[in-house]
């Protein structure tokens, strides 16, 4: 004796947020039922395990049918099959495109290719995120990437419009797409302490200031690539370290400004040239795609780690970077103010964001 067929269809599609989350998280129906039982929904509603199983199956089926539409969220609004209130639609989309920071950290900057997808079981094992969920998230990244890759105009806005995502989520996706496109290295051991949100913040900075779109949002080209011209110009900053006078001058200006204001003054003074060289070298090399990939690792190795070993606080860091940036403008022979500002603005906020344990 068994229930052979069991369906429930509402004119307004009924979707339980909790079950949806379980489905997204890759729970099997049976596991989901267990979780729900533990959650106490049974006592609440005088239901039995059978009822719960039936409901869960039903919802899972609904979600599976909806999934096709969720791949093109714009369709969800004008499809006829399911009558879903707009707020529900938004919830479905938002949760479908939500991702685990742990997971995204693993694939951030990797090529969104079949090869990467094959390795997802490792990622799943490592992060504890179920494989099913990993695949969904990965596919989401890839789908968004494919769509916006071809589009003109501001990246975040494109994502928001095509995938109807809320602002924050759209920004995160922009970061993911940006990282994937530029293949930034994020997986090195030294970078592991950085969270996705750190990178997302940095990506936002880069997108807003270093891409072509940052200069002119109406530009033909898009937000995904860094502004080549700007990268070219960055080479000119090298003068700050190659010209010894300029370097000394810069150092003394910074030291003057910081004297007595920071507890790590001595370390700073001793290390100034190394730090400055580090930052300027990163700038100068960015024209090479390979070095773009190493941007974050370079920042950490060349700047963050030395400071950390000298026990700088973030306040120290902030002070230093502020004066370091500003002082350059006072240098007589330094002409590249615009490029410097554009460069250091991003560097400063990135470093400040990245400077933690």
């Amino acid at each position: 004796m068994s229930v052979e067929l069991d369906v429930f269809v509402g004119n307004t599609t009924i979707m339980d947020k909790e079950v949806y989350q379980l489905w997204l998280n890759g729970y099997t129906v049976n596991d989901a039922v267990k979780v729900r039982i533990e959650g106490g929904v049974m006592e609440e509603c005088e239901a039995s395990a059978d009822v719960l199983l039936s409901d869960t199956m039903d919802q899972y089926r609904t979600f599976q049918m909806c999934e096709r539409l969720l791949h093109h969220p714009a369709k969800l609004a004008n499809q006829l099959l399911f009558q879903i209130p707009p707020d529900r639609q938004a919830m479905l989309i938002e949760r479908y495109y939500a991702f685990d920071d742990l997971f995204v950290r693993e694939v951030l900057g990797k090529k969104l290719s079949k090869g990467t997808k094959k390795d997802l079981d490792d990622v799943s094992a490592k992060t504890g995120v179920s494989l099913k969920s990993c695949r969904r998230q990965f596919d989401n990244f890839k789908r968004v990437f494919k769509v916006v890759e071809e589009l003109k105009g501001p990246l975040v806005e494109n994502i928001r419009q095509h995938f109807l995502l809320p602002d924050q989520l759209a920004r995160d996706y922009a970061a993911i797409v940006f990282f994937a496109n530029n293949r930034f290295e994020t997986g090195k051991k030294k970078l592991l302490y950085l969270t996705f949100q750190d990178f997302a913040f940095c990506a936002g900075q880069l997108i807003n200031h270093w891409t072509l779109g940052a200069v002119d949002s109406m530009m033909e080209d898009m937000d995904v690539d860094l502004d080549k011209e700007f990268l070219q110009d960055l080479k000119d900053l090298k003068i700050l370290i190659t010209d010894k006078d300029l370097l000394d001058q810069h150092k003394s200006l910074v030291c003057t400004a910081l004297r007595g204001k920071t507890s790590v003054f001595n370390e700073m003074e001793a290390n100034f040239k190394n730090l400055s060289r580090g930052l300027v070298n990163i700038a100068a090399k960015l024209i090479n795609a390979k070095d773009v990939r190493d941007f974050f690792i370079d920042l950490v190795e060349k700047f963050i780690e030395p400071c950390r070993s000298d026990k700088w606080t973030s306040i120290d860091m902030n002070l230093f970077l502020t004066h370091y940036t500003n002082s350059a403008h006072i240098l007589d022979t330094f002409k590249h103010h615009a490029v410097w500002t554009r460069y250091m603005g991003v560097i400063k906020s990135c470093i400040l964001r990245m400077y933690h344990d």
């Binding site: 369906v7 039936s54 006829l80």
Partner: protein, 1090 residues
């Protein structure tokens, strides 16, 4: 004459990829109507083609317009091979043919393929230019409005209710044609879909013609059904109630005026006055008419059935009188009196006084007698068609080789059943049957036809002519015999002559017995009405209608279900049919017992919306009775349930019994609490039935006694009132008790009912959720006992309900309304249960701010449209159609004579073995009664008008939340809470087939059906939206036939849905306007006192 149909194909979207190479589609569209086909250009390489075609014009007869759907086919152009079909859209253009409905169809409609489901959408524009047709002999009936709604539609007022219309058409089922062996499943499915479209169109047109003939302009309570009889064909049949409706445009001050004046007029007018309008019907013509009717069905058959039922029931004078009507008239009937009665019945046969409505304009329904039902088991040998002449282009089956000697037709089958229903109604002293419906259950070649309704007495006000007229005239005759003999009879006579325009108290009048208490057709316990104390009421009342809006009830109602499963042996042909007909009475009897027990267990005394479904399978019969129980204030409180053991042997046994008794008593107490049933204490005034001669009563008893009856008879004497005793020695009874106690209560915050709205709840919010749920259960072990099966079946239903409650928990507090269960046995060992219902939230605080609201007066009419209901243009036509049934002893003797007269004509192959009616069951059980009363007294009740402004307070209580435009609401109810229906756009009647050969890939049977039902909903919504509507009311899924073959990875499903497309607006600015007329009409209503 002709009309011009115009269609324009605008665009497509979300088309499937048809060309793998390019991932695109080269789509074009064929537009077909009748035999004319147009094509659009090919729109190359796009999934979102913009055809923007010219207007395709079809010049056609309006007859075709009514019958044919517009057929739109989307194809993928292929240069080298045949074009691939993407899918189709059938558009029913009927709504465009009526000036008051939709004017244009415009919107995105899903493109449907029977194999792939929905494949994108197409945007079309369809219009119709109709030229006026003055031809009297036309075959079309354009302009007749159809409503599925079983009450007078919200924005109309009934000028006249003409009565019952029915029609059926038959055809060969394409699925069973020889050609099906060589064509693709898709072609076969499409042939079927198209055929059914055609047949429903034709059916509707024919019914429309009948309506026009009767002088009506609309069909209300239109119920269309399909019988898939397999090899023997396909029957599409429909019933409805013809009406003359008038759209309510402005505040109808005239109505108020008229209603005020009518009572006096009605009272004054002499009874016989009504003969004037009735002339053409009542005098000359009836005889020829009758002859016609009769020619189409075999009299002998009715006999065989009668004889089978008559051994259990003896005393139903009218029934026998009726049933034998035509045939006896022809064959025998030496007695003059008999002859006369036959003539009468023949006259009445001219038409059926049936009404498919379940709720009525105020004052229309006077008394309710009780449920009448009839069933008949038939063998589906062949379809022989209809005397009604089928002139359509598709060909009928020709089976004459077989049937030459037996003009059996589906029409005759139904005719027979309807006759029986009519006679049952008459037995209850009623001249009409309301809440009438018909259904079938088919298994292989056996078909059970069922009909049921509620015997009632209606006010003649909305019926100027027709059967009631005749009947009234005739029914007066018996009065002549009886007057003077007894006082009560005399009373009746006078009440009849006054007409029933005499005032019936609104809150309880319908409960008063319509039959003569001295000649109750079954033993009953009568008491004086607990509300008005003037008329007699039964102790229990069963009906198939909705609770009248003005009925006085105590507490809340609840869904009550009786479920039963009976095994039967596998058999073929006649043997099978006989076995089934033998089982049916027991099935009904037990269902009835269960209903009674459960009703009492809930401390209630009346059932509304009773629907009994009997489903037949190869090895079992399923019975499911659903109804909404309430406590009618006018009726006496139900007695408790007592358990008795036949063999009070040992102590443990006694203990056991007393434990059970305690449990039951506890449950009753709990239920009373739960449903807030605390009737005002009334001085116990046991009137009992004042039937003077106990002799007669006991005679009735014995005549059909079965062992169990003795028991009930006993209790009657020993318990107080109608204490109900269950014998637990009896295994059945043990089971009953189990069933009683295992029904789990609805969870906190939930109520459920199968009527339109929940008695006792009014303040609905606008949150509604319509749903369909289907379950199929497989019985794996073949050797199950009846008890085992019962339990499984009962659990299946209970679990389904529990699941529904769980699903809808977010809507609490809420009520599941119109819970409509359908059971089927799709194949051996499978039980299918489908439920469609609507969940509606309500505000917890039941605010009855209006001081005039009398204590227990609960208004069930939650909705707005009260006003329209009351604004009837009253027909001042004071005929009284009191049927005074049978009564006299003479009647009884006639009964006696009948069975013998019939016996010889018993006939065979039709297996007309008719399961006996409810009445019969009722008589088996001593304690089940229902009725109304003929004896209504004067106009005193005027003094208890409806509280004015109650609706106003209801309205203000309601909260309205905004809706978004694109949403299409669906509900099985006739209204939308918190909103006002401003326009009916036409009937939605759609039939879909879905088939798959990749069942596993589509998620198994559940996945397959889930998406199909979702698709059906989507298509209904899209068509409603294209008509310009934003809701479907009176939605129902009438058919859901599911077949699977998991081994072959295949499944097929057929779904038929219907409803009324409407435009509603949220009540808000309407509010101010509507309050005004409401109070006036209320006043008038009070004055009228109906």
């Amino acid at each position: 004459m002709p009309g011009k149909l115009k269609a324009k194909i605008v665009a497509g979207r979300h088309l499937p990829v048809m060309d793998r190479a390019s991932d695109l589609t080269d789509a074009f569209v064929e537009v077909k109507f009748g035999n004319t086909t147009y094509k659009t250009d090919v729109y190359p390489k796009s999934l979102n083609p913009q055809w923007n075609s010219e207007w395709f014009k079809f010049e056609v007869d309006d007859e075709d317009l009514q019958d044919e759907p517009l057929q739109i086919t989307v194809l993928d152009h292929d240069t080298y091979s045949a074009n691939d079909a993407i899918g189709k859209v059938y558009i029913d253009i009927d709504p465009l043919l009526c000036s008051e409905a939709a004017t244009v169809i415009s919107g995105w409609l899903p493109i449907y393929d029977t194999i792939h489901g929905i494949r994108g959408e197409i945007n079309v524009l369809v219009k119709v230019d109709l030229f006026n047709d003055l031809n009297r002999f036309r075959q079309s009936s354009c302009g007749v409005k159809f409503f599925c709604t079983t009450s007078i539609p919200r924005c109309y007022r009934a000028i006249m209710v003409h009565g019952f219309v029915e029609e059926l058409v038959v055809n060969e089922d394409p699925e069973y044609q020889w050609i099906d062996r060589i064509r693709t499943p898709r072609a076969s499915n499409e042939a079927r879909q198209r055929l059914i479209f055609l047949m429903s169109g034709e059916l509707q047109r024919k019914i429309g013609l009948k309506v026009l003939e009767m002088g009506g302009n609309a069909v209300v309570g239109y119920l269309q059904c399909f019988d898939l009889e397999g090899e023997s064909g396909l029957v599409v049949r429909a019933i409805g109630t013809a009406c003359t409706l008038e759209k309510i445009s402005t505040l109808p001050s005239t109505a108020t005026h008229q209603s005020n004046s009518s009572p006096s007029k009605d009272m004054k007018e002499p009874v016989f006055g009504e003969e004037v309008p009735g002339i053409p019907l009542s005098s000359g013509p009836p005889t020829p008419l009758r002859a016609q009717t009769f020619s189409s069905f075999s009299p002998s058959k009715s006999y065989s059935r009668q004889s089978s039922s008559s051994d259990t029931e003896l005393s139903l004078t009218p029934k026998t009188g009726m049933g034998s009507g035509g045939s006896a008239g022809k064959e025998a009937g030496p007695l003059k009196a008999l002859l006369r009665q036959q003539t009468q019945s023949a006259l009445e046969q001219r038409e059926y006084p049936f009404f498919t409505l379940t709720s009525f304009p105020s004052g229309f329904l006077l008394h309710v007698g009780g449920v009448v039902s009839a069933r008949s088991v038939k063998l589906l040998d062949r379809i022989h068609n209809p005397a009604l002449g089928n002139t359509r282009s598709y060909k009928l089956l020709d089976w004459n080789s077989f049937t030459a000697d037996e003009p059996e037709t589906r029409d005759a089958w139904w005719e027979e059943i309807r006759q029986e229903i009519k006679s049952h109604a008459k037995a209850l002293g009623c001249h009409a049957v309301v809440g009438y419906s018909e259904s079938t259950s088919i298994c292989e070649e056996v078909c059970i036809l069922s009909a049921s309704g509620t015997a009632a007495i209606l006010s003649s006000r909305f019926m100027q002519d027709g059967p009631l007229d005749t009947e009234h005239r005739l029914s007066r005759q018996p009065l002549v015999f009886s007057t003077g003999s007894e006082r009560v009879e005399g009373d009746m006579g006078s009440s009849a002559s006054l007409g029933f325009e005499e005032v019936v108290p609104p809150g309880c009048g319908f409960c008063h017995i319509p039959y003569d208490e001295l000649n109750i057709p079954f033993p009953a316990q009568l008491t004086y009405c607990y509300s008005c104390r003037r008329s007699k009421v039964p102790d229990v009342l069963f009906t198939t209608i909705d609770l009248p809006a003005d009925a006085n009830i105590t507490g809340k109602g609840c869904l009550i279900q009786a479920r039963l499963c009976r095994t039967k042996k596998k058999a073929q042909g006649e043997g099978n049919a006989t076995a089934i007909s033998n089982l049916l009475p027991f099935l009904e009897y037990e269902l009835h017992t269960q209903l009674m027990n459960k009703l009492k267990l809930r401390g209630m005394n009346a059932l509304f919306g009773l629907r009994i479904q009997i489903s037949v399978g190869e090895t079992m019969l399923l019975g499911l009775a659903s109804a909404t129980g309430v406590y009618l204030t006018a009726l006496p409180g139900p007695g408790g349930i007592q358990i008795a053991g036949k063999t009070p042997s040992d102590i443990t046994y006694e203990q056991h019994i007393s434990n059970m008794q305690k449990k039951i008593n506890d449950t009753i107490a709990k239920n009373k609490d739960l449903y807030e049933i605390n009737p005002p204490e009334v001085v116990e005034e046991i009137i009992g039935s004042p039937i003077p001669e106990p002799r007669q009563r006991s005679r009735l008893f014995r005549s059909q006694s079965e062992s169990s009856d003795e028991v009930s008879e006993l209790d009657l004497s020993h318990g107080k009132k109608d204490a109900f005793v269950l014998e637990i020695d009896d295994t059945d009874a043990v089971e009953d008790i189990h069933a009683l106690l295992t029904d789990s209560p609805t969870p906190q915050g939930f109520y459920s009912c199968n009527t339109e709205i929940m008695p006792g709840i009014q303040n609905w919010t606008s949150a509604i959720q319509m749903f369909t749920s289907v379950r199929v259960f497989r019985l794996n072990n073949a050797n199950l006992t009846n008890q085992g099966l019962n339990k499984i079946f009962s659990d299946l239903c209970e679990n389904l309900l529990k699941s529904l409650y769980f699903k809808l928990r977010s809507m609490v507090p809420c009520c599941l309304c119109h819970l409509n269960f359908t059971v089927a046995i799709p194949e051996d060992e499978l039980i299918q249960v489908a439920v469609t219902a609507v969940a509606m939230s309500f505000d917890k605080e039941q605010i009855l701010e209006n001081g005039k609201q009398s204590g227990e007066k609960t208004l069930t009419k939650a909705i707005t449209e009260n006003d329209e209901q009351l604004q009837f243009n009253l027909e001042l036509n004071p005929e009284s159609s009191h049927a005074n049934p049978l009564s006299s002893p003479k009647g009884l003797s006639e009964v006696g004579s009948h069975p013998s007269a019939r016996a010889p004509s018993v006939d065979y192959s039709s297996f007309a073995d008719r399961c006996s009616s409810w009445i019969e069951q009722l008589r088996l059980k001593a304690h089940t009664i229902r009725r109304g009363s003929v004896k209504t007294t004067s106009s005193m009740e005027k003094a208890s008008p409806l509280p004015e402004g109650r609706s106003r307070s209801l309205r203000s209580n309601r909260s309205y939340s905004g809706t978004s435009v694109a949403v299409v609401k669906m509900t099985p109810l006739s209204f939308i809470p918190g909103a006002k229906i401003i326009k009916y756009l036409g009937i939605i009647n759609m039939f879909f087939i879905r088939e798959t050969t990749s069942l596993r890939e589509e998620g198994g049977v559940s996945g397959f059906l889930h998406s199909f039902i979702a698709e059906v909903f989507a298509m209904v919504r899209a068509h409603v939206a294209a008509l310009g509507g934003n809701a479907v009311v009176s939605y129902s899924m009438k058919e859901c036939v599911f077949m699977e073959n998991p081994n072959k990875n295949q499944a097929q499903c057929l779904i038929n849905v219907s409803g009324d497309a409407v435009i509603f607006v949220r009540e808000s600015e309407l509010e101010a306007a509507s309050v005004q007329p409401q109070s006036t009409t209320h006043t008038s209503n009070g004055g009228e006192g109906t």
